[in-house]
Symmetry: C2
């Protein structure tokens, strides 16, 4: 979106007749001025499903265990928060959810686990964002981090689950396992949200139409009109308000630094609905050739 901003400003400056519209696309769901972003609903559905499955997998054992599921998100906890949809009537996994929007504290984390265990939960599932940080601003994963940066200069944040796994084992003596959902959360096209996929086509089409009508220097955004029935409208928004911005989980939706209010569930629910028909060949999904 920063590129859309710069290109449209430059085109205007040199009086070049071209219309530049940003089409949002990020599983991270962290763009401003839009209710959500294409890709997020499918990633949220995959994450909630996977966390539910991990919960059932761990629940068959009669011992004290803690499974820490690491989910993408450097500064915004939307993907990690979406794991809340894994909960059902008989299994409350993930029992604890830690987002980068809250300060992380080792002692509080260990106490949260001890309290849950004391209340009768033997197999505890924890969802954590890769980017959770201590009060002094250092990443939890930095203890184990290699110090490498990605092509954008971001720190290589793998290892948060591993750090917490070791912490739980050392301090509480529970069986502990870190599970990094890794790249599948952004590329598992075999299980997507029909709502998300449909909206993604619609927002692309809306961008073309907007450009045809002379629009430029904007991003197409989702505006949520109602939750029940779920309805969105697509509108062009001024790009300068969006470029380099970041939308995080509202503080008032976070409970005790380890859970979320029902506002999050209300927000997420419509985004993960439906499964598109999947094309397979010899039992394996067929995807478009790029």
């Amino acid at each position: 979106m920063d590129t859309v901003d710069k290109l449209s400003a430059y085109a205007k400056k040199i009086n070049y007749d071209i219309n530049i519209i940003g089409v949002p696309k990020t599983v991270d769901n962290d763009l401003t001025e839009t209710d959500h972003t294409p890709g997020f609903g499918s990633a949220a559905k995959y994450i909630a499903t996977t966390v539910r499955e991990i919960g059932i997998d761990s629940d068959v054992y009669n011992l004290n265990s803690v499974t820490i599921v690491e989910i993408m998100g450097r500064n915004a906890g939307w993907l990690t928060a979406s794991s809340i949809l894994a909960r059902n009537d008989y299994l409350k996994a993930p029992h604890l959810i830690y987002l980068p929007e809250s300060t992380f504290d080792d002692e509080k984390f260990l106490n949260d686990i001890k309290e849950l265990n004391a209340s009768g939960v033997n197999n505890i599932i924890v969802a954590v964002s890769e980017g959770i940080k201590y009060a002094d601003g250092t990443y939890v994963c930095e203890a184990a981090s290699s110090g490498l940066t990605d092509v954008f200069g971001h720190k290589n944040l793998s290892g948060t689950a591993k750090v917490l796994e070791n912490l739980v084992r050392d301090k509480l003596g529970f069986k502990a396992r870190g599970v990094e959902i890794n790249v599948s959360q952004r590329c598992a096209a075999h299980f997507t949200s029909e709502t998300d996929v449909t909206e993604a086509f619609t927002v692309g089409q809306a961008a073309v139409k907007e450009a045809e009508n002379g629009g430029t220097g904007m991003m197409m955004a989702y505006e949520r009109v109602s939750n029940e029935p779920y309805k969105i409208e697509i509108k062009g928004k001024e790009i300068s308000k969006i470029a380099n911005g970041e939308r995080v989980v509202p503080a008032e939706w976070i409970v005790n630094g380890n859970d979320l209010t029902d506002d999050m569930i209300t927000y997420l629910k419509p985004l993960v609905l439906g499964e598109p028909k999947l094309k397979t060949e010899n039992g394996i999904p067929v995807y478009m050739k790029r």
Copy 2:
């Protein structure tokens, strides 16, 4: 199956009128006397699908990268081998496949990557079993292993992909990423093989029938009658031949220590066919309460 063996021997010894039949169940596919095991087909399908998706995810970047996908398997490479079904006409991921049945060698591995890269493959996907070992018998992951053992006394084998990721980065300077598919390969019930699920019910029913008919001290096994059309028969096999045995990938199916013959594809193909109807609620799969 060892328990079936012991219990049925003991029942016989004390002249106790009870029939004990083993029903196979393992994603590892490493039981002897059976063509394959319930659970394997679904795990194979999930792994092949995930590796295909990881291949596409990595293929969008124009740089030299190596993605190492770590798959379960201490001694038997069936699950890792199943990633071969990810290949299609335009994407040959996984480009390299390393099973525990072959000795692993760092220099050969690095040469395999260099050769592939020289032949024009920029984004290389490698499938490795967690249990690959060096010629001296030490596990590749032992460099990074915590030395912990699981409840059965097995060494805690996580970290193989991480060890190889660091090796590739240090020695070749390529972008490298380790991806551990982790527990999802055994519990991702949202994407299963209909063939596998159907057979699993059938083999359970056959066991009950066999017991009713007086059978004991055996395991129900799949016998493959034909590949096209795919047809199996279910037969009781003497448990003492199976208990504590282990079936690994035939040496003659392994090519150059880093690939597999078409025999593996012929073997795997029918096992991953079909997708059962998935029940969802609010967009997330609903599973049985235990």
